[in-house]
């Protein structure tokens, strides 16, 4: 019997599990939540100068293999992440594990025929029609989750009852897992959106606003950015974040042209991964009177390193402060806290003038 597992990123394991468990009649194993052990395992078997998302995903793979998985799913990306599936398959086979790794994106493209073939191999009863229907629901689920998350991000810092948003979100995700049809999902979404809007917040009109930009995995997986958003929310700050899975799947390819047009002054062509997006976002944030920008990336993330001097230049032109963070497997948490605290103090002081 085949057992399938997948790497974790933020809350997106819920739609992933929903899709896989409905489409494939095999056991789906959810890896244990990312912990220090995950990153230790990942770092141990990774090349030294690879970026942290590689280490996190390899760590979760090893942990799910420990739990009995023998099929793994990996995604590709627009930077060297595109080759991570192949490299990880090689590392796992060198370690002596006999696992099949299904790479959803190869050569920068999603070849649906190939993926169907791969799924047929692990589950001969795989039905395309069913897969199509559940993929549709899953994509809608991702969209709804991202929409709710956006509302949460701009309000969580001002909640009156502490933890109200988080516990309701937990409930919502639990209910999303159980839905059977698109109609049910749609109803649940509207129900919870109303509930979220009913949560009492005390939000002043002139609250501090910070935009978070940067490399996609580090930005979306809270463990890998040391719960930066939570930390900011505790300081009563409204957070704006652009990157989410819905953006990457549907919006990115349309928006990139507009982004390049907007930032004509600074860049001429695409810079790989999210680099040009982040440059355009910096300009957007500066023009929309955000108080500060936090740029986060994992160490050795090449596209973002290329984007950093340009981001710095734009921010200098507009006079908006930018805080750069580079996260690695063993970054000191105290250092992050000190810098964040100072950043927050600085924004308050600038406001107070």
């Amino acid at each position: 019997m085949n057992k399938l597992s997948y790497p974790l990123m933020g809350d997106y394991h819920i739609p992933a599990k929903f899709l896989l468990s409905h489409v494939l009649k095999i056991d789906i194993i959810t890896p244990p939540p990312i912990s220090n052990k995950t990153i230790e395992l990942g770092t141990k078997y990774s090349p030294e100068f690879v970026c942290t998302p590689f280490k996190y995903t390899l760590g979760t793979m090893l942990e799910s293999i420990e739990k009995g998985a023998n099929c793994l799913v990996q995604m590709g990306g627009g930077c060297r992440y595109g080759y991570y599936g192949e490299v990880q398959a090689q590392i796992l086979s060198d370690l002596g594990y006999n696992v099949t790794l299904i790479n959803l994106v190869t050569k920068g493209k999603t070849d649906i025929k190939r993926i169907v073939k791969e799924f047929k191999k692990i589950d001969p009863k795989f039905s395309r029609l069913k897969a199509l229907y559940y993929t549709f629901i899953t994509l809608k689920m991702v969209k709804y989750m991202d929409h709710v998350d956006e509302y949460i991000r701009s309000n969580i810092g001002f909640e009156i009852e502490k933890g109200a948003f988080e516990s309701l979100k937990f409930k919502m995700l639990r209910d999303f897992q159980k839905v059977k049809s698109y109609r049910e999902l749609h109803r649940k979404y509207h129900f919870y959106l109303k509930e979220f809007k009913n949560i009492k917040v005390h939000k002043p009109d002139d609250c501090l606003k910070i935009g978070i930009i940067g490399e996609l995995y580090t930005i979306m997986e809270p463990f890998s950015n040391y719960f930066l958003e939570k930390e900011l929310a505790q300081n009563h700050i409204e957070i704006k974040r652009f990157t989410n899975v819905h953006y990457l799947l549907f919006e990115k390819s349309f928006k990139i042209r507009k982004y390049l047009k907007d930032t004509k002054k600074y860049i001429k062509y695409k810079m790989g991964a999210d680099a040009s997006d982040n440059i355009a976002r910096t300009k957007y944030l500066c023009e929309h009177k955000y108080d500060g920008i936090i740029h986060i990336k994992s160490s050795f993330c090449t596209p973002e390193i290329g984007a950093m001097p340009i981001i710095n230049k734009i921010a200098n032109n507009y006079g908006v402060p930018v805080l750069f963070f580079s996260f690695d497997a063993n970054t000191s948490e105290t250092g992050i806290k000190t810098r964040l605290e100072a950043f927050y103090d600085m924004l308050e002081m600038r406001r107070g003038k």
Binding site: P32, S35, N36, K37, T38, P309, N312, G319, P321, S326, T334, G335, T338, R339, E341, A342, D345, M346, M349, R350, G352, K353
Partner: protein
């Protein structure tokens, strides 16, 4: 009766304490080595300060800053605990309201703070390497058999500083050993070291930052005349070093304590306060958080390090 405010800056290498009055005049100050034990250092510091403080002074506020700010904040029951970047900026701004750049090199970290019109507009802190900090200087001084306090004067004697590859502490050290073994005079090597600190600071922390005059240089390393000289040479600007430059963080936090006073009177009697910390490792999940529990008079006041918030 005079209202006074205590500011304590507990750094990696030294612990600084300052008492100011309502008009920001320094009443007394104290500078001692931390020696890896902040609690003990602060006890000594408070004892020294208590001896020197005039009879009619009443402490109306306490602030702590530096790397041990949280721990000592709990110990002294401080009314404000702030990071060192803000404290340094506030301290400097009280004496030099029109400063535009603050360079700060301490024991473990170095920072640059840019100020425009009395407001911090940008800052940076060293992230990767300690090659541009005081601990590098003090370890190299020991290797050369010099006292850190004489180091700067020694550097001024040199006319031709050697070039030292200062990208990284370890490589700088091997370069230094090499230069000494091939026979360069000691003062040239010392001067080269001071210059390497400056270059490393400007390449690492000061990268991409507009350094504009008036520039103030502070932190423990600002007491080193050699480093000051090379900063002047490289930046081609005048560098102001205050006579209290090493105390600026403590002064800043004392000023903040005055601004945030709660109307309570504090006592400096610490001899009857028992202060303990206990470290343990939580094994409830695979995160294995390192927990630190803090006891004040055998009563649990705080615990840190938990990721899930159970403790």
């Amino acid at each position: 009766m005079r209202n006074c405010y205590l500011g304590v800056d507990i750094g990696s290498i030294s612990t600084k304490g300052v008492i100011i009055d309502e008009e920001n005049n320094i009443i007394t100050s104290c500078y001692i080595w931390t020696e890896g034990n902040p609690v003990k250092a602060v006890r000594n510091l408070i004892r020294n300060i208590k001896e020197e403080i005039p009879e009619d002074c009443v402490i109306k506020g306490i602030g702590t800053t530096g790397s041990a700010r949280k721990l000592i904040g709990l110990m002294l029951k401080a009314n404000i605990v702030k990071n060192e970047i803000t404290a340094h900026a506030v301290g400097t701004l009280t004496f030099y309201p029109n400063v535009r750049t603050i360079l700060e090199i301490g024991g473990q970290d170095s920072k640059i703070i840019l100020i425009r019109n009395g407001i911090i507009t940008n800052y940076a802190m060293n992230t990767l390497c300690a090659a541009g900090t005081g601990s590098f200087l003090s370890s190299q001084a020991k290797r050369l058999g010099l006292d850190v306090n004489e180091f700067g004067k020694y550097a001024l004697k040199s006319k031709n500083p050697v070039k030292i590859a200062a990208r990284c502490t370890v490589f700088a050290e091997s370069d230094l050993v090499h230069k000494a073994q091939v026979g360069y005079p000691k003062e040239d090597i010392v001067a080269g070291l001071c210059k390497s600190i400056v270059l490393n600071y400007l390449n690492n922390v000061g990268k991409g930052k507009k350094i504009e005059a008036p520039i103030i240089f502070q932190g423990g390393v600002s007491k080193n005349e050699g480093v000051v000289k090379y900063f002047k040479e490289v930046l081609n600007e005048d560098i102001i070093v205050d006579k209290n430059s090493h105390l600026m963080g403590a002064i800043g936090i004392a000023v903040l304590a005055r601004k945030n006073k709660v109307g309570k009177t504090y006592s400096l009697e610490l001899s009857n306060v028992k202060f303990d910390t206990k470290a343990m490792e939580c094994t409830r999940c695979s995160n294995n958080c390192e927990l630190l529990k803090i006891y004040r008079n055998n009563e649990l006041v705080d615990s840190w390090g938990s990721k899930c918030g159970k403790y």
